[in-house]
């Protein structure tokens, strides 16, 4: 088990749902769905350790929260951005070892970014940028990736590519991935499990191919 939450209560001051039990295994992609403002982002931030839980406990191996909407400084190149992924392993002077450089190059190659390593991140399209953010997370070598609506700004083919990549990362590298999204189509097609905020503070989890029958999508039709 890469990540485990027990009786977890999260939110700001008031818990956003009933105490939640959840676990993420190696090689598993879990889609997180729910209405706007129901607490998807809060849950991800709490699991990522950026916000302390209001109750319960979270055990996690190395976790990285990947945010696609960030705007890097105008002067930052793709390579420099991906290199930030190695800073958890560096000292305060932020040097990079030979091994670090290999890992950075491997992450760039995996996301097909080698050709644009010297380009400024702000000059890239949304699709290319999402690959840069993923490459940074890969360079971190975190066991668990948490993604907050990664396909919010992507067109249909690029969304498919993104989710295919997530699935590949989980299956080939044994990562655990929790990804929030508003597209049920991608959730059903690419995730192993679906975690759904079904309303009134309930959170339910089911296998992706059973989620629809079990009523996890009922909240989507008013």
């Amino acid at each position: 088990m890469l990540l485990k939450a027990e009786k977890l209560e999260f939110g700001y001051k008031e818990p956003l749902c009933r105490p939640l039990d959840f676990s993420l295994a190696s090689g598993e992609v879990v889609a997180l769905i729910g209405a706007n403002g129901c607490g998807k982002s809060s849950l991800l931030k709490t699991l990522g350790g950026l916000v302390p839980p209001l109750g319960g406990k979270v055990w996690a191996s190395s976790v990285s929260l990947v945010r696609m909407g960030l705007t890097p400084p105008e002067t930052m190149t793709v390579e420099e951005f991906v290199s930030l992924g190695r800073s958890p392993y560096s000292n305060f002077l932020d040097g990079r070892t030979h091994e670090d450089l290999l890992i950075i190059h491997e992450a760039l190659a995996m996301m097909d970014l080698v050709g644009m390593a010297r380009k400024k991140v702000v000059h890239l399209s949304d699709g290319e940028r999402s690959r840069v953010f993923l490459a940074e997370a890969i360079a971190q070598q975190a066991q668990v990736l948490l993604l907050d609506e990664p396909n919010a700004f992507l067109d249909i083919p690029r969304s498919h590519f993104l989710f295919r990549t997530l699935r590949k990362l989980a299956e080939e590298r044994g990562l655990g991935i929790l990804v929030s999204t508003h597209s049920l189509e991608y959730a059903e097609r690419y995730a192993h499990k679906i975690l759904s905020f079904t309303g009134l503070g309930n959170v339910e989890c089911a296998l992706a191919n059973e989620a629809r029958q079990k009523g996890l999508f009922d909240w989507t039709e008013i």
Partner: protein, 319 residues
């Protein structure tokens, strides 16, 4: 590799300027009259008490102001930031105004210690007030407002002072590297070294800071600690430079941009030393013209020069 050679070139340029600044002056004499067998007391006095302190002042305050500006621009993610947004120069001005215009004296170094105490008091106040808020931008607002508040008192002092003391005050405001004495070099060096050290150990944070606090936290960086260290370091640097050399605002705002234009790197392992070397070199260059007021020289010659470099490099850098 290319960047290493660039940094080496900058270091060499700085070294050349240091030697030139030590040798060049209205009175001509060679190395032998200072160190050698044919040493003359006049040459030694000029060397140790005029040229050496002046060179040290230019190198250290150039480094201090430019690194302080770079750190604050990164921290606030605002390219217009400089060392003086924190109200430091206003504090120093008030200290100097109180000592020159109102006749109050603080400490043993006269005007200089008044400037240092003024700068420190205002900086501590600004940092204390803004520590009550979470957003970093509050510090900018508090700094600017405090600056205006303090400037008000300076204006009052100016309005009620004699023409003679006013002239001394105005000449302090124009900035000069010639005010540092041989005895003060030690304390100035220590202050600058402490400030630079505080910022140098925060390179890992500075590299990630451009993407926001949450991103840095996600990388396991203790954001709160490093932010305080950077602000403290930047304040010490700006306060030291302002106290000893006057309010030289331009260096802190412009040099980081110049360093970026030259290196095209946003990695602070490169950008920080490049900024330091550019700042020192620029100040040494300006300090060679002893008869002209420093602020006027830096603005009239420095601004077109830096604008030219920025425009030249804008082909691969959209401002």
């Amino acid at each position: 590799m290319r960047l290493r050679i660039g940094l080496l070139c900058l270091s060499f340029l700085l070294l050349l300027l240091i030697v030139f600044s030590l040798l060049w002056g209205p009175t001509g004499f060679g190395w032998s009259s200072v160190f050698g067998s044919a040493s003359s007391p006049v040459a030694q006095h000029i060397f140790y008490h005029i040229r050496l302190p002046k060179t040290v002042a230019a190198v250290l305050s150039g480094a201090a102001l430019s690194v302080s500006g770079l750190a604050l621009q990164t921290l606030f993610r605002n390219p217009l930031c400089g060392p003086f947004v924190l109200g430091i120069s206003s504090g120093a001005s008030l200290g100097v105004a109180l000592s020159l215009l109102a006749g109050l004296t603080f400490g043993c170094f006269g005007v200089l210690s008044s400037a240092a105490i003024g700068a420190l008091v205002v900086t501590i106040f600004v940092m204390y007030v803004s520590s009550k808020f979470e957003r970093a931008s509050v510090l900018l607002i508090v700094g600017l407002l405090t600056g205006y508040f303090v400037d008000g008192f300076v204006s009052l002092l100016i309005a009620s002072s004699s023409a003679e003391s006013l002239k001394v005050y105005v000449s302090w405001g124009m900035g000069s590297f010639g005010r540092l004495t041989f005895e003060q070099m030690g304390i100035f060096s220590v202050a600058v070294a402490v400030g630079l050290l505080l910022i140098a150990v925060s390179i890992r944070y500075l590299n990630a800071a451009g993407l926001g606090d949450e991103f840095a936290k996600n990388l396991g960086i203790n954001v709160g600690l490093y932010k305080r260290m950077v602000i403290l370091g930047a304040s010490i640097l700006a306060a030291a430079a302002t106290s000893f050399c006057g309010p030289v605002a331009f260096v802190g705002i412009a040099v980081p941009h110049l360093a970026y234009a030259l290196t095209q790197s946003s990695n602070y392992r490169v950008l920080l030393p490049a900024t330091l070397l550019c700042g020192s070199s620029l100040c040494l260059l300006a300090g060679l013209f002893t008869t002209l007021p420093l602020n006027a020289l830096l603005s009239i010659v420095g601004v077109p020069m830096i604008l030219w470099v920025l425009i030249r490099s804008s082909r691969n850098w959209r401002l």
